[in-house]
C-alpha cells in the first residue's frame, strides 16, 4: 500500500499516525506541497483533485483521510483494536458524528488560522489585517469550545474510555494553528489533559515524529520564497485570503 503524504497537512498526519500506531505497512510517497508537487502531471494521474492524502492499494486509489482511515481499518480489522471505530452502534455513531462535524468547523477554522499566521505575509506581501485575524481566531475558539462542551464533556476521549478515529482526527487539526505559536491549550485544562491522553495512546515518540515538520513551520515562508512555484501558488492562496 502506498500513502501519498505531506506531513504539513493535518489529514496526512492522521493517516500516517493511524497506520503506524496499529502497524499497517505502507510505502511513504512524499508530495511536497510547498514545492507545488501536487500540480505535477504525475500526481495529477494519481489524484485529479491534486490533494493529499491519497492511498493506493494495488490499483485501488482512494482520497479523503476519513475514507482512507476507515478503509485501512476495515481491511485490517482482525488486527486493529475495536476502540478505534467501535462495533457498538451508538459509539460508532458518535465517532461518525465527530468526523462529519469537524470538516466545516475545527478543520476549516484551524486551517484558516494556520494559513493566516504562517503564509499570509509571504503570499500577500503584507501583515494580516487585525480584524481578519481576530475573527478567524474567534471562530476557532468557538469550535474548541464545542469540542470541549459537546464532544468531550466529562469523558476521557470523544467516545468514552479509549481513543478512537475521532480523537486522532481532532488532535492533528488542533496542532496546525498550535504549530504557528498560538497556544490554544492555555486556559483550557480539560483540553490539555485530553491532549496528553491522546498523545500517550498514540505513543509520544510517534506523535512527535508525525508533527516534526509542522512544528518547524517558521521556516516555511522562506522555503516558499525560494521556490519557483510560488507565483503558481499565489493566486490559489489569494482566493482563500480574500
Amino acid at each position: 500500500m502506498e500513502l501519498y503524504l505531506d506531513l504539513h497537512s493535518q489529514p496526512c498526519r492522521s493517516v500516517f499516525l493511524f497506520a503506524k500506531a496499529v502497524g499497517i505497512p505502507f510505502e511513504f510517497k512524499l508530495v511536497e506541497l510547498s514545492a507545488g508537487h501536487q500540480y505535477s502531471e504525475e500526481f495529477g494521474k494519481i489524484n485529479i483533485m491534486r490533494k493529499v492524502p491519497v492511498m493506493k492499494d494495488g490499483s485501488f486509489v482512494l482520497t479523503e483521510s476519513v475514507a482512507i482511515l476507515k478503509y485501512m481499518l476495515q481491511k485490517h480489522s482482525s488486527s486493529v483494536a475495536d476502540h478505534w471505530y467501535p462495533a457498538d452502534l451508538q459509539q460508532r455513531a458518535c465517532v461518525n458524528e465527530y468526523l462529519s462535524w469537524q470538516h466545516m468547523n475545527l478543520r476549516a477554522q484551524g486551517s484558516k488560522v494556520f494559513l493566516l499566521r504562517a503564509l499570509f505575509p509571504v503570499i500577500m506581501g503584507s501583515e494580516v489585517p487585525k480584524e481578519k485575524m481576530d475573527a478567524a481566531v474567534q471562530d476557532l475558539n468557538q469550535s474548541l469550545q464545542m469540542l470541549e462542551d459537546k464532544f468531550l464533556q466529562n469523558k476521557p476521549f470523544i467516545v468514552g474510555d479509549k481513543i478512537s478515529l475521532a480523537d486522532l482526527v481532532a488532535i492533528v487539526e488542533i496542532m496546525q494553528p498550535v504549530a504557528t505559536g498560538l497556544d490554544l491549550f492555555e486556559g483550557r485544562p480539560k483540553l490539555t489533559t485530553w491532549r496528553e491522553r491522546v498523545k500517550k495512546a498514540i505513543g509520544e515518540k510517534l506523535f512527535a515524529e508525525a508533527h516534526e515538520v509542522i512544528m518547524k513551520v517558521g521556516s516555511l515562508p522562506q522555503k516558499m520564497e525560494n521556490n519557483s512555484n510560488l507565483e503558481l501558488l499565489k493566486p490559489k492562496f489569494q482566493k482563500l485570503f480574500s
Binding site: I48, M49, F60, L62, T63, E64, S65, V66, A67, K70, Y71, Q74, K75, L89, Q90, R92, A93, C94, N96, E97, L99, S100, W101, H103, M104, A108, A135, M146, D149, K150
Partner: protein, 241 residues
C-alpha cells in the same frame, strides 16, 4: 419505537435523512424545527443537539447530529438493503470518500449559491455584488464537474450499479441551487441522467414530496417576513459574502 427526527426540509441534509427513513420504512416521527423562525435556538432543542443544527435524531435517550452519522446509524440499526452502504470494502470506501469530500465542496458551494442568489437579496434585502455571485457559481461548477468526472465517471451511481448514501447526499445538495433558480442540469446530460436514475431509485413521488418546501422558495421569499432572519443576518453575511 419510533426515532424522532428534528428537521427543516429547507435544509439539504434534513431531506436526505427523511428520504432515507421513508424509503426504508423506518418508524419515525418528524419534529419540525423552523430555521427561518430561529427555532434551533429554543432551549428544548438545545437538549437534543448542543450544535443547534438540523437534522438531529433522538432514539430513546440517544441523541445524534450530522446527517452522514444519522444515515449510517439508521442503515445499521434498521438493517437496510446492502446497496445503501455495501459491505464490500471498495464500494463502501467510494461512499465514504464522497461523504467526506462533499462537505467543503458541493454542500458548501450549493448552499452559497442558494443564499447569494435568493435568500440574501430577497429576504435580507442586501445587494450581492455580481463578482461574488459569479465566483460562487464558478465554484459550484467546479464541484459539479468533479461529481461528474471523478465520482460518477461512467458508472450509473457513485459506488457502482446501485444507489447508495452517496447519491442520496449528493442529490439533495444539487437541488438547493436549483431551488434558487439556477439551471444546474442544463448542458449537463450526464448529471441529468444520473438525477433521473436517482429519482427513479428513490421514487419520484417521495422525492418530489420531500423537495416541495425548498422548491417553493422563489415564491415564498416574495411574501416572507424577513425580520425573522435579522438576528442571524450578521452571521449569514459573514459566512457567505
Amino acid at each position: 419505537m419510533a426515532v424522532e427526527l428534528y428537521l427543516d426540509l429547507l435544509s439539504q441534509p434534513c431531506r436526505s435523512v427523511l428520504i432515507f427513513a421513508k424509503k426504508n420504512n423506518i418508524p419515525h416521527e418528524v419534529k419540525q424545527v423552523s430555521l427561518m423562525d430561529g427555532e434551533q435556538h429554543r432551549e428544548d432543542f438545545g437538549k437534543v443537539s448542543l450544535i443547534r443544527k438540523v437534522p438531529a435524531l433522538q432514539d430513546g435517550d440517544f441523541c445524534l447530529a450530522e446527517s452522514p452519522a444519522i444515515l449510517l446509524y439508521l442503515a445499521r440499526k434498521f438493517k437496510t438493503p446492502d446497496h445503501w452502504y455495501p459491505a464490500d470494502l471498495q464500494q463502501c470506501a467510494r461512499i465514504d470518500e464522497y461523504l467526506s469530500w462533499q462537505h467543503c465542496a458541493i454542500r458548501l458551494h450549493g448552499s452559497k449559491v442558494f443564499w447569494l442568489k435568493l435568500m440574501i437579496p430577497e429576504v435580507l434585502h442586501v445587494e450581492v455584488p455580481k463578482e461574488k455571485m459569479d465566483a460562487a457559481v464558478e465554484e459550484l461548477n467546479g464541484s459539479l464537474k468533479l461529481l461528474e468526472e471523478k465520482f460518477l465517471q461512467d458508472r450509473p451511481f457513485i459506488a457502482g450499479d446501485h444507489i447508495s448514501l452517496a447519491d442520496l447526499v449528493a442529490i439533495v445538495e444539487v437541488m438547493q441551487p436549483v431551488a434558487a433558480g439556477l439551471d444546474v442540469f442544463g448542458g449537463r446530460p450526464k448529471l441529468s441522467a444520473w438525477r433521473d436514475r436517482v429519482q427513479a431509485a428513490i421514487g419520484k413521488e417521495l422525492f418530489d414530496e420531500v423537495h416541495q418546501t425548498v422548491m417553493g422558495s422563489q415564491e415564498r421569499v416574495k411574501v416572507m417576513d424577513g425580520s425573522k432572519l435579522e438576528f442571524s443576518k450578521a452571521k449569514i453575511l459573514k459566512f457567505f459574502m
